[in-house]
Amino acid sequence: MTRKPGVQSKSESGLSSARLVSSYLFSRPKTRLALLLAAPVTWLVLIYVVALVALLITAFWSVDSFTGEIHMTWSLDNLQQVFTQALYRTVTFRTVGIALLVTVIDLVVALPIAFFMAKIAKARSQRIMVILILMPLWASYLVKAYAWRSVLSHDGILQWLVQPFGLSTPGYGLAGIVITQAYIWLPYVILPIFTGLERVSNTLLEASSDLGAKSGKTIRLVVAPLLLPAIIAASIFSFSLTLGDYITVNIVGGPNQMLGNLVYSNVGAANNLPLAAAIALIPVALMFGYLTVVRKTGALENL
């Protein structure tokens, strides 16, 4: 084979430089690691971590009540206000209460259906049920909140259903918030628990019963410990997602406020970003506390 020197050398040098880089990297795993991590870590740190730290710092600044400009002087006024004023304490307790209630309701509702799907339903009906649970998960968040606005309304279907029994719809308020939030996050709770239950091998359950354990004991001593990470992963969704919500509150909550509403009104109408930042630190602190506790259980790998 005859070679055309000019053309060949060009392509060969191109090829060999790629080769060179490749073999250089091949023997240097640390450089390879650095190259892989460079873009994503830069992105997450530069955009997200910096933004979070900045938010923390902004909470210590203040706003001039006349000009609306932010003063970059350190003060604890915002934090003091958030920690001492009754409004913030009430709303914090209400928000945490709602988030806990929603999480408990979702777990109670999710456990039986997830168990049925994972351990009782036949392959075909299991597949259908997974699809039936997935569908509302993909359906828009707003659609679901809006659907409950229709259901709970005084002219709505709930009123029509319970009126013959002398009852009435709870309407828009705290009960509406809890029902709607529990409804919206339910698929997010069912699916991790279902996956967790599927991983609990049937042979373990049989072994437990062969060794004389009754169903209750098997559930308590075999299923529960194996399922705990999945339950915690599920609760992260419902708890965190409820904690920061203000949209559902506006749609079905009537005049009630959650922490998200206070943050929102301080960013918008009140134009007090430092105070909003101080309020936003409450859910951040709560979530960090929660994540630190559950990190040890290995639940984060289940997300």
């Binding site: 870590v41 359906a139 707003l142 659609v143 002219d155």
Partner: protein, 264 residues
């Protein structure tokens, strides 16, 4: 553990009730999209297709759909690149700070949306002095979408046979060739699943969007939220809701097909 027949029936019954609870509100929205009464009185006094016609003629609605699709595609592409890179790094290397990086990926989705929203709003406007535009929405969405791609790719990589990559190197393939011909083909369905989730997450997001979108940027969720409380527009929102529920079957169909291919 032997589950008694009666326990099976009880659990089956409860599961049926749960599914009813899940689908009843969606059914109400479907019927209300044909409800002739503007205030959506139940039961509907008469049926009409007026709202459907109005929805299809609404220019603002179609523009909002286009904006949402644009944002979702752009942020999904960014998330695919970033999520794959970080998953490859974390699955193949043990290094100091590995746990921190994995927490960093999860954080934007684990923290409440309002925190992410206000933090980014503050960073873009106060610190960087930027105008809020569609680009700021895309950056924000990509940030919390990374985790879906990361999770899917991570799970796939952990099941992948590392010998294949070594074999490829032994046969003289460079790193890029190995990725292109050995690793990537095995990752394809995981990337598809992760990308699908990222798209869905972005398409549906409203809280972070509210805080990072400029004045002229109206995504579909923002359009729905703006029109929900307007008496004349509320019935049209029902139509959009029905279409969105129906459209959610598309990603599920694809996801099922991907998992069917994996099983076989």
């Amino acid at each position: 553990m032997r589950i008694s027949t009666s326990a099976k029936w009880v659990l089956g019954f409860i599961s049926g009730l749960v599914l009813l609870f899940i689908y009843l509100p969606l059914f109400v929205v479907l019927i209300n999209s044909f409800n002739a009464n503007k205030n959506m009185v139940w039961p509907p006094p008469a049926l009409t297709t007026e709202w459907w016609g109005k929805a299809f003629k609404s220019l603002g609605l179609w523009e909002a759909v286009a904006t949402s699709v644009e944002v979702a595609i752009a942020s999904t592409l960014l998330a695919l690149v970033l999520g794959t890179l970080v998953a490859m790094a974390l699955s193949r290397y043990k290094f100091f700070g590995r746990q921190v990086v994995s927490l960093l990926v999860i954080l934007p989705i684990a923290l409440p949306g309002i925190v992410t929203g206000i933090a980014l709003n503050n960073a873009f406007r106060t610190i960087l002095g930027l105008q809020l535009t569609m680009a700021t929405v895309i950056i924000a969405h990509a940030t919390f979408c990374v985790v879906t791609v990361y999770n899917n790719v991570m799970a796939r990589l952990s099941r992948m046979n590392p010998n294949l990559q070594d074999a490829s190197a032994d046969l003289g393939a460079g790193l890029w060739t190995t990725f292109r011909l050995v690793t990537f083909p095995q990752l394809r369905s995981a990337l598809f699943a992760g990308g699908l989730l990222a798209f869905g997450l972005s398409f549906d997001e409203i809280i972070v969007t509210t805080f990072t979108a400029g004045n002229g940027v109206v995504t579909l969720p923002i359009w729905i939220y703006d029109n929900m409380f307007r008496p004349g527009q509320a019935p049209v929102v029902n139509v959009v809701a029905v279409v969105l529920v129906l459209a959610s079957m598309i990603p599920i169909y694809f996801a099922q097909r991907v998992s069917a291919v994996q099983d076989s």
